[in-house]
Amino acid sequence: MYRYDEFDRDFVNARVEEFRDQVARRMSGELADDAFKPLRLMNGVYLQLHAYMLRVAIPYGTMNSRQVRMLAHIARRYDRGYGHFTTRQNIQFNWPALSDIPDILAELATVEMHAIQTSGNCIRNVTSDQFAGAAIDEVADPRPYAEILRQWSTVHPEFSFLPRKFKIAITGAEHDRAAIQFHDIGLHLKKNDKGELGFGFYIGGGQGRTPFVAKKIHDFVPEADLLAYTTAVLRVYNLYGRRDNKYKARIKILVHETGVEELTRQIDEEFARLKGGELTLPEADIKAIAEYFKAPVFLERPEGWESLARWKKADEGFARWVERNVHPHKNPDYASITISLKPIGGIPGDATDAQMDAVADIAEEYGFDEVRVTHEQNLVLPHVALADLEPVYRALTAAGLATANAGFITDIIACPGLDYCALANARSIPLSQEISTRFGSPERQAEIGDLKIKISGCINACGHHHAGHIGLLGVEKKGTELYQITLGGSADEHSSIGEIIGRGFEPEKVTDAIETLIETYLGLRLKPEETFLEAYRRVGPKPFKDALYGASPAEAA
């Protein structure tokens, strides 16, 4: 993974001191609150219901054990002993004091971490495939480009006060595990017929109040033009994005209101001016950055095949875990593992300091010292020998991190919701806990199969409910919480926005409604292998609406 050089270290240390100065000026009143706000947001500091929240960046979701241990230390020393991994591959701490945050940032800087631009109207964390560098279907590792974009976008003097936040995601495989079509810029790293690397370039995706699937505006932007083209997009957005209404300020609205052809024409015109200039990426620089991401040396471990078969026969729980949470790797003696942060009935995406330390130990001993965060609030060990799966499973089990539910109904994504967030209208976490408990038996989960439930506590959609096979949106109605159900959303290469299927449900009725939806699906699926999403796309919303709300009078007649 990327390692800081002296330039990076000088920068991040200067940034910490700059923020320390800004905090001091705010405390003394020299800096007014409304002028301080964008500055603290650009250092990841939110004010929530109960306390400040600090969002620490985990660039493209990649960390080493030293960094994971530091996060555990921060949780212990400055917070309440836990952290929350987010839908953009970052981590949030919910109880830091502003007065401690400069020190927290200084400690993070010692392990090459920061909280720069994890909030604010600027370019945010560039996210990617959690299996990058390991996945068997990967064309090329997207992370070097994510790192180049991360550097280039850091404290960009022109793009620090955009109309709104700006999110970029990049996949290096056809099967999109990075949800690129729901990002402001989505990049699909691929090869052309000559074997050269470049990007399918998408703009204008997003969730929130008005969800849009991104539009592909170029099939192949050569890798050398990545920064120049991205600059052209940002410049047009910065100049023409709406600033009159916070809910109409993302680039997706600019695309929608200007028209994609006209907007692309404007971007291309600016790009033509920049092309071939100082933003061109020299091959040598791309190679140098890519060096940091080359795969570790994988020893042959063929004994893993026989061990794996033996272990699976001996332990049903282990077998289920392998079936669900262990994923194919480029190297046949190895696998990638999902570490579930979704214990049955637990808080999705949370990890205690002890659990973080356990993950660090396991990654260091068995995982080539690498850990990933997924945008579905889980962790991943990208490289583990099959021959080490059993001891890894035991260690994860001891830490409460071996729930065999990756991609199952209990692998729920939930935003912090009204339990924490000042923007929320309703709670998300208790609902996810109830649903998880109701469907928690391994047999039920296996029977239902792949199903993504995503819960947002407000229209800002941080729980990505629009992209859930079943989405739940919490709203406030007459002072109480109510939940709307959407069906058929998806964030992979066949992205779709979920459809609202009818009036909302009170909190105590939601889980029963989910039960009804599941029963309906099980009743109409062609075979067990037909997933909920496939069945929904085949039959449409009607059977589900009828089951929930009763058949319409016309049909009943």
Binding site: A35, S160, F161
Partner: protein, 167 residues
């Protein structure tokens, strides 16, 4: 009280540029900072040089292109510190329209924005905020020397990669 600051000269007295209002008109030896439409009218109707124009964030800088050699100063407005359009206007004025005269930031010019302004091509800042004035008088500019991207203001190459700068 608004004071004019440049990186080379610090705070200047005797700034000749005036944003005209009902109460205040440009006098002898002063130059009116004209809003875009008024500027375009004047530029078209006369051969005057040393003109000055003040742009709002939604103004299209490309409309200055035909008259660019006759403009001494363009003032770019930052109405609220979180409206960043002025930075892109500045980049286009310098790089696309080829403006080589004085580029001044006016409006809500706060201390923490100054490094961004200097990098995007502003050479002159109109500052009202007392804290900013005090810090600039003390020569205590904020900002980080390491830059991760090129910008309008020339800077030395930063170590290792083509996109980095230092200065």
């Amino acid at each position: 009280m608004t004071r004019i600051w440049t990186e080379k000269g610090g705070f200047a007295a005797n700034d000749p540029y005036v944003i005209e209002t009902e109460e205040r008109q440009a006098g002898e030896g002063e130059i009116a900072l004209l809003p875009l439409e008024d500027f375009l009218t004047k530029a078209a109707e006369s051969n005057d040089a040393n003109l000055a124009v003040v742009l709002k964030p939604a103004d299209d800088v490309r409309r200055l292109e035909p008259f660019i050699g006759r403009i001494a100063l363009v003032a770019v407005t930052f109405p609220a510190f979180n409206d960043g359009r002025g930075f892109s206007q500045a980049v286009w004025l310098r790089e696309k329209v080829g403006f080589t005269g004085s580029l001044r930031a006016v409006g809500d010019v706060l201390l923490d924005l100054i490094p961004h302004m200097l990098r995007t091509g502003f050479d002159s800042l109109a500052i009202t905020n007392p804290v900013a004035i005090a810090r600039l008088e003390a020569g205590n500019l904020p900002g980080i020397a390491e830059h991760y991207q090129p910008s309008v203001k020339p800077a030395a190459a930063g170590a290792a990669y083509s996109w980095r700068r230092r200065g």
